[in-house]
């Protein structure tokens, strides 16, 4: 069986990026599976499209140079080479913002526009403090509220590097509920 979505997540506890990725993925799972939000792929698709176009530019340069050997291909090559980094820049800037989930909560009554939930996180290199930030944007009032927690990853992983959902899921839910609750009392 190829997909192992149901098996508990086990990673190398010393690999910082694997730790962050697994915490991010699991936080995503909580919002999508427990609260049944719908993921908005626009952010991710945007990144994919920018990167695909950059690769296409490189391929065009390659083929053009092959068909019209240098030095006739100089202007085309120059254009591709200059525009390539210009395209990557927005992509790099996106990565800086570190938002890894944009999800919508559809209004059950079907009348108001969707509420938007965003998740972003950070884990510094060689550090054990993981920060998860939840941002809530009300569909109705367009108001934005955020909450975050910073905890040591040791609280969520056992000695073998297995992510213990029983310890992590409540933290994520608590963060989510703190924002959802505020909304209801207003």
């Amino acid at each position: 069986q190829w997909k192992i979505d149901d098996k508990p997540v086990k990673i190398d506890k010393w690999d910082g990026s694997a730790v962050k990725n697994s915490l991010d993925d699991s936080a995503k799972k909580v919002l999508l599976e427990k609260y049944k939000y719908v993921e908005n792929f626009r952010l991710i698709d945007g990144r994919l499209i920018i990167c695909t176009i950059s690769c296409l530019f490189a391929i065009v340069a390659l083929i053009w140079d092959y068909l019209h050997p240098f030095p006739e291909s100089k202007p085309v090559l120059a254009f591709c080479v200059v525009s390539y980094p210009l395209q990557i820049l927005p992509w790099l800037y996106q990565k800086e913002k570190s938002i890894f989930l944009v999800a919508h909560r559809k209004d059950p009554a079907g009348m108001d526009p969707d509420d938007v939930w965003q998740l972003s996180s950070s884990l510094k290199r060689f550090d054990d403090k993981y920060t998860l930030k939840v941002t809530f944007i009300s569909g109705k009032t367009k108001q934005q509220r955020e909450a975050e927690f910073t905890k040591s990853i040791a609280k969520f992983f056992d000695n073998n590097g297995t992510l213990v959902m029983e310890a992590y899921e409540p933290e994520v839910s608590k963060l989510h509920d703190s924002l959802a609750l505020e909304r209801k009392t207003k």
Partner: protein, 176 residues
């Protein structure tokens, strides 16, 4: 097959992103190479010295940086990299004699510092001089020894493919 676990947990978009990552790395390398071509004006801005014919100036395995600007005239004593018509391998030798016309056309003769005779024996049948079109570029700078890796990879192509395959696999499977 534990190292595939990350991949098995990926959805379609994440899988495409991994492939894209690989593509971006290849594209970046390509763009840097093409960029160097544009900036230096040479179709092969970096070459590796393949023989000892230019010792003691250059040794087998040295990496050379070339430019090929039309504005720079070729002069006797300069080290040029040229290709003989019909042959793929560039040769790195010194210019010995030049005949120059008023309009800038030149015919020149080359010789390796460490060779006993000039390069006429290497040129095509009946060819006695080289022309500007044969020039790949002029040596402007060099880094010693580093090119040995390129020579190894060319002499042992299996080694080259193995290294490239492993690198490619690593990029495809590893999440950022």
């Amino acid at each position: 097959l534990d190292f595939l676990d990350d991949v098995r947990r990926m959805n379609k978009r994440q899988l495409y992103y991994q492939v894209l990552n690989f593509g971006m790395i290849v594209s970046s390398a390509l763009m840097i190479w093409k960029g160097l071509m544009v900036v230096t004006g040479s179709e092969s801005p970096i070459v590796v010295v393949l023989s000892g014919s230019m010792e003691p100036a250059f040794h087998r395995g040295d990496l050379l940086f070339l430019t090929n600007r039309i504005e720079d005239p070729i002069r006797v004593g300069e080290i040029v990299v040229f290709r003989i018509e019909g042959r793929e391998i560039p040769i790195v030798h010194r210019v010995l004699k030049i005949h120059e016309k008023q309009n800038g056309d030149i015919k020149f003769l080359t010789k390796g510092d460490n060779n006993a005779v000039d390069d006429r024996g290497l040129y095509k049948q009946g060819q006695h001089w080289l022309e500007k079109k044969d020039v790949v570029g002029r040596a402007r700078g060099f880094v010693p020894y580093i090119g040995i890796v390129t020579i190894l990879m060319n002499d042992y192509p299996k080694f080259k493919y193995a290294v490239l395959f492993l690198l490619g696999l690593f990029v495809l499977v590893h999440r950022e």
